[in-house]
């Protein structure tokens, strides 16, 4: 997976010595880098700049760099007066809960079906994989009805964070990447541990969990990011504005506040995912490439 270690194979050093290749390919790569900076980074830099620019300047001269000074007050106003602080906290609580549910479901299920392998594992795996072929839209309405009128519980889960946390556990992406990883763990270690007298719980906590750190990193970053990005589901099941996450609040904030403060709120909403990505980029890029391998 690590592109850095791979020797260049398509373009050989001999190729690179040719002036045509050096100019054409090298030039294309420099252009691509410039385009990526403008396209990938540009909008985010503009958002960062506009978050601390007075509204009048952003409206009148959107591409000018602080023509009349900066307005750091936008950030404070967004955080305090528009209550972004509260929505930010809601987003964190939703993300952490969804992450926890996904980790529990993914690790225990993966362990049971890939390591313990009961006779019925095949049936369950088939049923799990089947859900991959059902587009998410099919689930939307019945899931919503289920939250409004849950069977057995008979108490509406609308405006409860459980309505967001629990469904997050049914992630087919997690099933697959965890299964792939657990299936390939060396079985001799489990046999050795069993002979040493380890029961299924010891085997899980002392051997399987510590071995699965890399895959748990991938599951974690995608669980947290997906929750941070989620919009439609929390919009439907969290109707109380005081409980809604940032992404659900932003369209309302846009209609109720001045542009500068709104852009500051948007900038705050981006900070955590961007920082998380820059810190854990290896897990992100590995998981994303794995997504392709699964799909392939």
């Amino acid at each position: 997976m690590s592109a850095e270690e791979r020797p260049a194979a398509l373009v050989t050093p001999t190729d690179w010595r040719r002036p045509g290749v050096r100019l054409g390919l090298g030039g294309a790569q420099v252009l691509l880098l410039a385009a990526l900076v403008v396209v990938g980074l540009g909008p985010i830099l503009w958002l960062a700049k506009s978050a601390i620019t007075p509204t009048a300047d952003t409206i009148g001269h959107p591409m000018a760099l602080f023509p009349h000074g900066s307005a750091w007050s936008n950030l404070r106003e967004a955080w305090v007066e528009v209550d972004v602080g509260r929505y930010f906290w809601n987003t964190v609580v939703l993300a952490v809960g969804s992450w926890l549910v996904q980790i529990v479901v993914a690790t225990t299920g993966g362990y049971a079906l890939s390591v313990l392998r009961p006779s019925y594992a095949k049936v369950i795996n088939a049923l799990l994989l089947m859900t991959l072929f059902v587009p998410a839209v099919v689930l939307l309405v019945p899931l919503y009805i289920e939250i409004v009128h849950p069977p057995i519980v008979h108490h509406s889960l609308i405006d409860s964070y459980w309505a967001v946390w629990l469904p997050a556990g049914a992630s087919a992406f997690n099933v697959i990447i965890v299964k792939r990883f657990f299936d390939n763990l060396p079985r001799e270690i489990f046999e050795a541990a069993r002979i040493d007298g380890a029961g299924p719980f010891t085997l899980f906590t002392k051997i399987v969990l510590p071995m699965s750190k890399p895959i748990l990193g991938v599951v974690s970053v995608f669980a947290l990011l997906a929750s941070w990005k989620d919009f439609l589901w929390p919009l439907l099941v969290l109707t109380d504005p005081n409980k809604q996450p940032l992404s659900v609040r932003l369209p309302t904030i846009q209609s109720q506040t001045e542009l500068g403060v709104f852009l500051a709120a948007m900038f705050i909403a981006c900070l955590v995912p961007i920082a998380g990505f820059l810190i854990f980029q290896r897990s992100f890029l590995r998981g994303s490439g794995m997504g392709g391998a699964i799909k392939g």
Binding site: M1, A3, E4, R6, A9, L10, T12, L25, A28, Q29, L32, L36, P43, I59, M63, V105, T108, G109, A112, P118, I124, L127, L128, T131, V134, P135, A136, V137, V138, L139, V141, P142, I145, E146, L166, P167, G169, A170, V175, P200, F231, L232, Q254, L259, L263, M266, A269, C270, P273, I274, G276, F277, L285, S288, G289, G291, G292, A293, K295, G296
Partner: protein, 319 residues
């Protein structure tokens, strides 16, 4: 020969006996059956409650009239008939197909070219990847609302200002029926292309270098190597990303919902937006029957489309 066969028969009988012994509940618990079930339980509950059960419910609800107040009544295929007679349906289907088509034109070749160039960079490969992936981690709501600001149709909108430097525009972007959909696709491509680039990069590292060496020995030029080695080796991934992109864009919701609410004049009304409108758009109570009927039709169409696609491409997807 006979002795071996006898041993095998005996062995099989023994195995059968052991199997029968294991069926007793107590030995099942002793053998770890219960603890195994305990470990499977979270996943069974999560998928049972939030995936398998809702899938079945969709089918049931599509045949019922439900309004959450009275008990549901069976109405046969009335919901499907009502959806098919909705004059908005052909518009939504046409717009969704247009979105998917534009998304392929905008977003399919560029990530591939970018990934090939990036994988041959002699330094800073991770810088390329990080820059390409950055838009993917931006929350989609932020991305859409930010681009909505960029698309301001006035002459001082962000895009119109930049294009104005080249004496172009101002363009109407989201406010014109013909410009709205391409504008949505442009933002969607920006937000999603990075993930595809990373998938291609991973697939490129899996190409066997010996193939390139063999091609070089045969005197292949750089272009010939790309055309005759790289692209054929990526064929499988390329085919899959294409069908996945089509399945994904057929379910586009956020962009039309937040950019235009389906306007102007239904120019960006998509199938998912219609489903949302059936179920949640009416403050007097949703028509869940019609919503589930349309979502089922979309799912079945996508399944049949994928099957046909796989069948059509099978002959040239296997190496």
């Amino acid at each position: 020969m006979d002795a071996i066969a006898e041993i095998e028969v005996e062995g099989a009988a023994l195995a059968r006996r052991q199997y029968r012994v294991r069926r007793s509940p107590l030995t099942w618990v002793r053998g770890g059956g219960l603890s195994t079930l305990l470990f499977v339980l979270p996943r069974l509950l999560a998928f049972g409650a939030f995936s398998w059960y809702p899938i079945v419910r969709t089918v049931v609800m599509s045949l019922q009239h439900t309004n959450l107040v009275e008990s549901p009544t069976w109405v046969g295929f009335d919901n499907f008939r009502a959806v098919l007679n909705d004059p908005l349906l052909p518009i939504a289907v046409k717009n969704t197909a247009y979105f998917a088509f534009l998304a392929l034109i905008f977003g399919y070749p560029v990530p591939l070219a970018a990934a090939v160039l990036m994988s041959e960079a002699r330094r800073g490969r991770s810088l390329y990847s990080v820059l390409a992936y950055l838009p993917v981690v931006i929350p989609p709501v932020v991305a859409v609302l930010l681009w909505k600001t960029f698309y301001d149709a006035g002459s001082v909108g962000v895009f119109n200002t930049v294009l104005g430097w080249g004496h172009l525009g101002p363009y109407p972007w989201l406010q014109s029926q013909s410009w709205a959909m391409p504008s949505l696709v442009l933002e969607s491509t920006w937000a999603n292309a990075g993930a595809t680039v990373i998938i291609y990069l991973a697939a490129l590292t899996a190409v066997n270098p010996e193939l390139y060496e063999a091609a070089a020995v045969d005197g292949a030029t750089l272009w010939q190597k790309v055309w005759h080695v790289t692209l054929p080796q990526l064929r499988g991934v390329l085919l899959v990303t294409m069908i996945l992109q089509i399945i994904g864009t057929a379910q586009v919701f956020l962009e039309p919902f937040l950019f235009t609410s389906g306007g102007p004049a239904n120019a960006t009304l998509t199938v998912l937006l219609l489903i949302y409108d059936y179920a949640f758009g009416n403050s007097l109570g949703g028509d869940y029957g019609m919503a589930t009927a349309l979502s089922l039709m979309l799912a079945v169409f996508l399944a049949l489309f994928s099957l046909a696609y796989l069948r059509a491409t099978r002959s040239w997807s296997t190496e």
